[in-house]
Amino acid sequence: MPAPPPTQDELYREAADTYDAALERLARAYEADAEVRRDLLQDIHIALWRSFEGFDGRCSLRTWVYRVAHNTAASHVIRERRNKSQTLVGLEELESVPAHRDGELAADRRYALERLLELVQSLKPLDRQVILSYLEGLDAGSIGEITGISPGNVATKIHRIKNVLARRFQEGGRHGE
């Protein structure tokens, strides 16, 4: 007899156990304010738990978790933009802007992390999804599945991400070594 499908609670528990830290990092990338971030993370967990009521295994658990989390966070960004009229940029714009290099970046991990967060938080939601997935170590195929961007475009965006990161952090890295 085949095993019964996992319940909503079981799926949520598995997702939370596996992706708890990743979801916290994701919330950090979408919201700078610590208080609001806690609310956003809570919203993501609630959305995730509720979403498992309709999980039919059409995609992997990882893709599902990241989609729900990114989409919940993107809604948050859309809402916040209405309130704060915050300007977000695309990877293309970041690539064309002369980068500020800092020799202390690699030496001071906390400072480097702050700069990396600033960079991620300044990006448009879809570009943010790509860079976050890249930093989480996901491959191009998985990034395409989560974001819905074609493999060709994912490759282009990853190329741009590498350029931007190299221009902003690599120089400092050499100094710090």
Binding site: G54, V68, I78, R109, E136, A140, G148, Q170
Partner: protein
Amino acid sequence: MANESPPNDRLKSLWQNQPSEGIRMSVDEIRHRAGKFQKKIYRRNAREYVAGLAAVVFIAFEFWRMPDALTRVGMGLMIAGMLYLIWQLHRKGSARSLPAEMGLASGLDFFRRELERQRDLVGSVWSWYLGPLIPGWVVLMVALARINPGHLRHFGLTFAAFNLFAAFAFVFVWKLNQRAARRLQRRIDELNALEGQR
């Protein structure tokens, strides 16, 4: 991404090893908070409906006190327009995506759908927000002009200035929303271009 440069590997490691704030909730707590969240939404919606209905009740009260038939027709139309507006707010507000849909939609699809929903909302502001109030307003103004209270000096001038201001406010809201709709459309076009390159 097999041939990763060492600095990017360091950045990935830096990213993945951030200190955690350790916020974790049990399933029971999640269920409890999901219920509270739902109640909060219901309460917020209820507040909006009550505020809208209070305005309707106020106009309805005035309606009974008005001896002039045309004024009553204008107020009746105003009430109908406001009820239609409240219903539209309810309908459009409940069209938000459900969590399960978020899991089925990729970031691109979800983001585009949200932007399209907003564009349609602000782009059609005439048909669901401003338009329904106009018939009542026009009839009320005609009724007021017909009554033309003798005790008001410069009635014509005041009346014209008031209506000009109201018309200006309507056009201003409409133009503002149109501009927002165009801005949203540009963002949707950007997303479509991303998809078109598949």
